[in-house]
Symmetry: C2
Subunit: 162 residues, 2 copies
């Protein structure tokens, strides 16, 4: 069975894979009450023990929008660090993750006001916006060692339309 039904992204469902970063949980008010600060929402994790050059950085990704149904056969993971995807638009995007290459992947759909942080080593699909502009700020590992493992499924998966 190669079909995957997309699920709404929630912190509880996503917990095995990473963090959901949004403005729904506890906050403190700053700036004379004009701003909610939802503090320290991502488990950033960069493998300094394996490579002393590892450090966090912010990069900008601009990805081609995809459409549902969406077919894929590739997942990847980054052994040297966590990777946060912060959408610079209010457009929902697709988040594909897998517990392992042997497990069926899961597909989550954001609500337009959520960023995610993939924990270090989480298997995931490539960046898949569903609308223009496909613009993201990405907080991930900057360093010199190899930081990409890929796995190609023998048969493609299809994320179904809602």
């Amino acid at each position: 069975m190669s079909d995957i039904h997309p699920e709404p992204l929630t912190a509880a469902a996503f917990a095995p894979f990473g963090d959901v970063l949004d403005a729904t949980a506890d906050f403190r008010l700053i700036n004379d009450g004009m701003c909610q600060r939802h503090h320290d929402r991502a488990r950033l994790d960069f493998a300094a023990e394996t490579d002393a050059t590892n450090r966090p950085g912010i990069s900008i990704f601009k990805a081609t929008p995809r459409a549902l149904p969406y077919r894929f056969d590739l997942i990847e993971r980054h052994p040297e660090g966590s990777q946060a995807f912060i959408p610079m638009s209010e457009q929902p995007f697709l988040v594909i993750v897998a517990a392992s290459p042997q497990d069926k992947p899961r597909a989550f759909l954001t609500n337009g006001a959520q960023a995610i942080n993939l924990h270090r080593g989480t298997w995931h699909g490539v960046c898949t916006p569903l609308s223009a502009p496909g613009l993201f700020a990405v907080v991930d590992r900057i360093g010199t060692s190899a930081n990409l493992e890929e796995y190609r499924y023998p048969q493609p998966w299809v994320v179904l339309a809602l």
Copy 2:
């Protein structure tokens, strides 16, 4: 003279204060050519030498939208770390910075596809979206020591409408 004319945000004009993070400069193609990676665009800088607990983190800010003309009399800075503001919408926002409390502040207006990273210690105004949702991911210093200095001007400044 208390009026400030807002300027378009450009990397050159903003260089004394911080980094402009956008998809305009050099990139490498990833994900089979489907994604531009504009690599490592922010000078992250967290003062490990003054406080060993300092580390970067990602918080979510939700700020009340303001309107132009915008009156303010407060600027602040963070001696322990840089601070990046990544808008989670395509709405332009206002960025107020000052070389020092004795210098006239400057006001920059983003183009809807720009994030910023304030360098460590840069004097700046509070988070000022100009439209809903006022949602930002903020990459800044997480730690236990004091990290806020404020300066209140004897007279308010006014950022004029365009």
